[in-house]
Amino acid sequence: MLIKLTGGAVYDPASGIDGVKQDIYIQDGRVVNKPVGDFKVDKEYDLNGKIVMSGAIDMHTHIGGGKGNIARTLLPEDHRQDPVHRTDICRSGCGHAMPSTFVTGYRYAEMGYTAGFEPAVLPVNARQAHMEMADIPILDKGGYVLLGSDDYLLRMLTAKKDQKAINDYVAFTMQAAKAIGVKVVNPGGINAFKFNQRKLDLDEQNSHYGVTPREILQVLATAIKELGVSHPLHVHGCNLGVPGNMDTTLNTIQGIGGLPMHLTHIQFHSYGTEGDFKFSSGAAQIAEAVNKNKNITIDVGQILFGQTVTASGDNMRQHANYKHASPNKWVTMDIECDAGCGVVPFKYKDQNFVNALQWAIGLETFLLVDDPWRIFLTTDHPNGAPFTSYPHLIRLLMDRSFRNDVLATIHPEAQKMTTLASIDREYSLQEIAIMTRAGAARLIGLQDRGGLSAGNWADITVYTDNADRQKMFEKPDYVFKDGELVVVDGKVVHTKWGTTHVVKPDYDLSVEKDLQAYFDRFLTMKLGNFKISDDEITEDGRGSLTVHPLKGDVA
């Protein structure tokens, strides 16, 4: 079937097209060039006056894995506020802070998103992450596997194993867990918490292993580079949420020595200690460092006011913050000599000084980082806010007067501590398209996604231009996934199943010999039962794997 999208204004930063009126042809799920000679269009959509972008990609969203399901189980009262009825097309479920899997897929698609990436896949919990994501309809998905607090790596560092051995282990783990990237959370800190350490600075030693977070970051970032994995090491740094942690973050940027590194939810790591409350914005210094260091990318982890739940691998910092739990209940777990997790419900309040300033710090960061190819739009769903608040966040970025109106309503002391009112910048549609489409696809290393030129998969979102950007982005006219129309006027009209994006870096098979001995001696399952097979993703007839090239591969 040949589909023609006629006359829309196309924003396709991947091809350098910025609001140009263009026709798009779709055949067999992909964008194609205008056929030559005589041809018949089977279905035409008149998009005159409409805005066309590729489907949006959330490069950091907690949509699959054990901590999310703990968050769901913890909060029945939150689900009861947002029941989702079954329809002829859609399954029932729940929404709001931590939606059910089916509702996650529907609501992302209804905002024009066609892919989401789970950033914290514990190797030992990777099956669960993939099984949950297998029940998210419409979206493509993928995961970054968590390393850095696992005892195997720390033992390797203590034993001074060479970089090649570490690369093999990283590649093995990526393949075993079916990952497209590697994340490190509070490097070594989750492990240190098990030894009763309650904080771990960048150069502080793990009391058992003598290894520092800085060393962990260096070997993992090096491994990613040497393996040719496109997505840079994805880093949730030390000291999340601690006033003064911007120094740690600046030090982390300097310390990586030019290696590619992605600093995630940087808002939570951009705090100073100025002012009467000893809590201030470090956004300007952080943005300056990001602007200067081209090897660094960031996503923001914007907070927005209201009830949510924080679900993190960082059990050390989550435990330190449990007193802020609202409602007052929380969970931490130590997990399998592999990692950990912590789940703490949060209610961010605009009249709370700290929350109000966190809100401003996130926005300052967005507005002070120059290059939209190196900054990404996230709320660290659900940690800063549920993903359903993205259209509101986009309006805050694109509409200065709206932003200043909201700013005028937050805690007055926080207003005094932010430069936000003096920042004139408004994001353009093209910059939004870079952050949420082309840039995200490039950062993750997705081939044939995030663009609208011929050869790309036809993940396409069509909006009606509206000066109220929140209204515009929360209700697309059409969303196509792999060329199939899935959303009309902001409602799902058809569902399908997306693919799972992975990379498969090579490793020396001899690494499995050491690992097998380690599993038999110290862990609780056989190595052969730990590795996830391709079947497990595909055997239900819905899932599929898409393997992306490594850097240096011939495409």
């Binding site: 054990g66 399901n69 769901r72 189980t73 913890l74 909060l75 029945p76 689900h79 029941p83 989702v84 009825h85 079954r86 399954r91 029932s92 479920g93 729940c94 931590m98 939606p99 059910s100 899997t101 089916f102 030992v124 919990n125 099956r127 669960q128 099984m131 949950e132 029940d135 005892d151 033992r155 918490f193 098990k194 030894f195 009763n196 435990h319 007052n328 209940k329 929380w330 969970v331 931490t332 777990m333 130590d334 997990i335 399998e336 000599c337 592999d338 789940v343 001696r521 110290f522 862990l523 609780t524 399952m525 056989k526 052969g528 039962n529 996830i532 097979s533 079947d535 497990e536 239900d540």
Partner: protein, 419 residues
């Protein structure tokens, strides 16, 4: 005859995956690393191979059609049992969503003791590999651990080496409440567990006093539930002195009213210990016959654990009112679907309502159900996934033989499609 190694078990809850099983046609024999729970569960013979309607053998298609016909005009069917693998639960929840059913896992009344505590105040828990490598003090509350999991001590306490303990034999084991039925908790060097027995009825008081002692609150009695307060003080002191104590309980074994408060007191005590400059974690036992699996899959599909109704067109969780037996006894259900792919002895409650059983081959019924469809067992007749007790690790179940039995998924999906 074939021999399959590294076989994972969905039966014992602790994720043993080192079984060696001999396969001879459709008969299985556990030849290595069996136990009193796993060996009989694997070795049970296939007796029923065809479906029945009203006691008469019919084709699978006919049984599915009959099941769909029975469900077609119901207002509130109950799907009980819910003992199957991840894919089976997926199909079960799709069927419940379509038919407006109540979903209720058969072990939920026990598990409720954990869920109510979790949903009210939360907890700090750990998993089996952390126990194996870190635990220097294990406090076992209200359960005979070795009859629950015969190989628990062998695999996770008396392992030859651990990463962080010089000598695993020096771990201290304390029982509070129930006494152990055997010697599994005795260390290889002969060190016996300390045992402080009390009745289930006294356990809430005993645990409350223990928590008070951990917090340093004064206690004005000398004994509680027959246990000297001095002994409880000694346990409290050991919990505070340990580097990584683990407190374990089985929600289902706390079989008394409001036992969720005992779980909550234990969990809050663990939090208290973590604020006294050391580490401690909880380890709830469970994971048998798909109970964690049911709650996990229902959790991501609906937001709620597996005692949830769909009769209003969206999921509604009620840990009391959605109980299968409560609904049957109060006349609030109009059909029963019983799903139990693991245990042929776990048969449905007897009811006059139309009854459909999707069960392990070999079930015998006091009253023949309207429809009985024998299904394969996950991890024996087909591959699949099941969660073990610590709720983090989903084990990959293997297919061991070619029995021709359909999976739970196949059957429930077919019924859903026929509706």
């Amino acid at each position: 005859m074939a021999e399959i190694t590294e076989v994972p078990s969905p039966f014992c809850g602790i994720g043993t995956d080192d079984l060696t099983i001999q396969v001879n046609g459709v008969s299985l024999k556990v030849v290595e690393n069996g136990c009193a729970v796993n060996s009989p569960a694997f070795e049970q013979a296939i007796t029923d191979t065809s479906a029945r309607v009203d006691g008469k053998e019919v084709s699978l298609e006919a049984a599915v059609a009959k099941a769909a016909a029975l469900l077609k005009d119901t207002n509130q069917p109950v799907i009980g049992g819910c003992a199957t693998d991840v894919n089976g639960m997926r199909a079960l929840l799709a069927l419940a969503d379509r038919s407006g059913a109540v979903v209720d896992n058969m072990n939920f009344t026990g598990a409720r003791n954990n869920f109510l505590a979790l949903q009210d105040s939360g907890w700090m828990n750990t998993t089996l590999a952390e126990v194996k490598n870190r635990c220097d003090l294990l406090l076992v509350v209200g359960v005979d651990l070795e009859s629950f999991s015969p190989r628990f001590f062998e695999r996770y306490l008396w392992n030859e080496e651990s990463m962080f303990l010089d000598d695993t034999g020096k771990r201290e084991i304390i029982y509070l409440g129930k006494a152990p039925s055997g010697n599994a908790s005795t260390s290889p060097g002969g060190r016996k567990a300390s045992v402080f027995e009390c009745t289930n009825g006294d356990l809430p008081d005993v645990i409350a006093v223990l928590r008070a002692l951990v917090k340093g609150n004064p206690i004005r009695v000398d004994s509680v539930g027959g246990i000297a307060v001095a002994d409880l003080q000694a346990i409290a002191d050991k919990l505070k002195a340990a580097s990584y104590s683990v407190v374990t309980w089985a929600a289902g074994a706390l079989a008394y009213s409001q036992a969720e408060l005992t779980v909550q007191t234990l969990s809050e005590m663990i939090k208290d210990i973590n604020n006294l400059d050391t580490r401690s974690s909880g380890l709830p036992l469970g994971g048998k016959e798909g109970d964690q699996t049911a709650n996990q899959v229902c959790g991501w599909t609906t937001g709620y654990p597996a005692r949830t109704r769909f009769s209003s067109g969206f999921p509604e969780y009620d840990p009391y009112l959605n109980d299968t037996n409560f609904l049957l006894n109060n006349g609030e259900a109009d059909a029963l679907v019983w799903v139990q792919a693991f245990n042929a002895k776990a048969v449905p409650p007897v009811t006059d309502l139309p009854t459909i059983v999707v069960g392990r081959s070999g079930m015998t019924f006091a009253k023949e159900p309207d429809v009985f469809i024998p299904v394969g067992t996950p991890g024996i007749d087909h591959a699949g996934h099941a969660y073990r007790m610590d709720n983090v690790v989903a084990i990959r179940l293997k297919k061991l033989r070619e029995s021709g039995l359909p999976s739970t998924f196949d059957v429930l999906h077919a019924i859903e499609q026929a509706l």
